[in-house]
Symmetry: C2
DNA sequence: TCATCCAGTTAACAACTGTTCTCCGGAATT
DNA sequence: AATTCCGGAGAACAGTTGTTAACTGGATGA
């Protein structure tokens, strides 16, 4: 038994996670650029100076949040886009709906800070989204409709899909934020999003005409 | 000559505009939710209390900025979308590029606060974008390709176009923000955006198959 | 067992925040 | 000419902010 976790490191990661959770909660009603260091430590129940043991700044914390929010999502997107035929779009919309329902704060954070006031965070999000686009591209390249397509055009299409997914996620989020979150509103968003992606797919099929 | 402007009202609107300009400048590097009232008055060169003569809060100022940024844009979008044939997309992309180049701070503000932390501002932007979508819809309805389309599907398509325009504007903005703003990068964005809109138009043409 | 490490604490710093109340002086109204 | 109006100034309020320095006490490794 050479390498037990270490009580010390375990505790450290535990409070680090507490920082991330508390910050995510506070960020539901404000942007990262207005998030105070003391505000977070107060929410965690810890002294202000403890913050520096984990993060250099709130921007640093924000970058960590980006990884937490998007890092584990790549395989799910990949397998979803890999679904063949007409079911791909249905599954994609369901994946988005489920993910927003399960992690609304994460989605809100990404939508908010993508164009937000903190440069390093914006860059981290941009890099993650570029990764998504690359992955979607290589999946799209696999199916027969991609024959004759240049790499450039495939990437353009992939970006279109990724952006569309983010917009859809943001609309699902608004659905949850409304004073009376109704299943009907959610279904309406799903309906529109599905048709928009279908239209894009149609454009794809006739691109080489 | 019964109704001259009034020295008083003229001065008031002048300093009000100074508030809007100063705020827009400060918001290039932060979000509205972190913009301080005193920060703005300092930039204008006026006492903190003078702020209250013009705005109830910084959120109020934000809403005013939304109107300034998007209010006058409706006729331009309308006539651009009204352009017939293949030239419509070219003109739309050029309109976006020119507008971003002429008013980068306005565009940044809208992109940032669309999902930002200040609810009234988010709502104001949402309303303006809904207006754009409605206008694009009625223009789209005019051309022959719209025959057989339901109102619902036309609105869905209009939203797709509007969102696409915003994404493109944001990409043009990143082009300007980069350390070495190159004409080549701008052309690349224009190229991709044009193709994406073409693909959507293709999807539109085959929607009723 | 003993020395080392290190996550978290306490205290203090100058600087900043939004908001209230009172006042001023020039424009507007009568 | 006299009075009212009102955009802006000034001072003061209690609270907040990020960052520093020196500390404590339990886990860690020799």
């Amino acid at each position: 038994m050479s390498h037990t976790v270490g009580i010390r490191q375990a505790q450290k990661q535990k409070t680090r996670q507490a920082f991330l959770d508390a910050a995510l909660g506070l960020l539901e009603e404000q942007s990262l650029s207005s998030l105070g260091l003391r505000e977070v430590t107060r929410a965690v129940g810890v002294a202000p100076t403890a913050f520096y043991r984990h993060f250099r700044s709130t921007a640093d914390l924000g970058v960590a949040l980006v990884d937490e929010a998007l890092g584990s999502l790549h395989p799910m997107v990949r397998t979803t886009v890999a679904t063949p035929g007409a079911e791909r779009i249905t599954r994609a919309v369901r994946l988005i709906a489920d993910h927003v329902a399960a992690h609304p704060a994460h989605v809100r954070f990404i939508a908010r800070e993508r164009h937000g006031g903190v440069q390093p965070v914006r860059q981290a999000i941009r890099e993650q989204l570029a990764r998504f686009a690359e992955e979607v591209k290589t999946e799209l390249a696999k199916d027969p409709e991609a024959e004759g397509w240049s790499d450039e055009d495939l990437l353009m299409l992939a970006h279109l899909y990724v952006d569309q997914m983010l917009i859809t996620a943001s609309l699902f989020l608004e659905t949850l934020e409304s004073p009376e979150p109704s299943e009907a509103a959610r279904q309406r968003v799903a309906h529109i999003a599905t048709r928009q992606m279908r239209l894009i797919s149609l454009g794809r099929q006739h691109w080489l005409d």
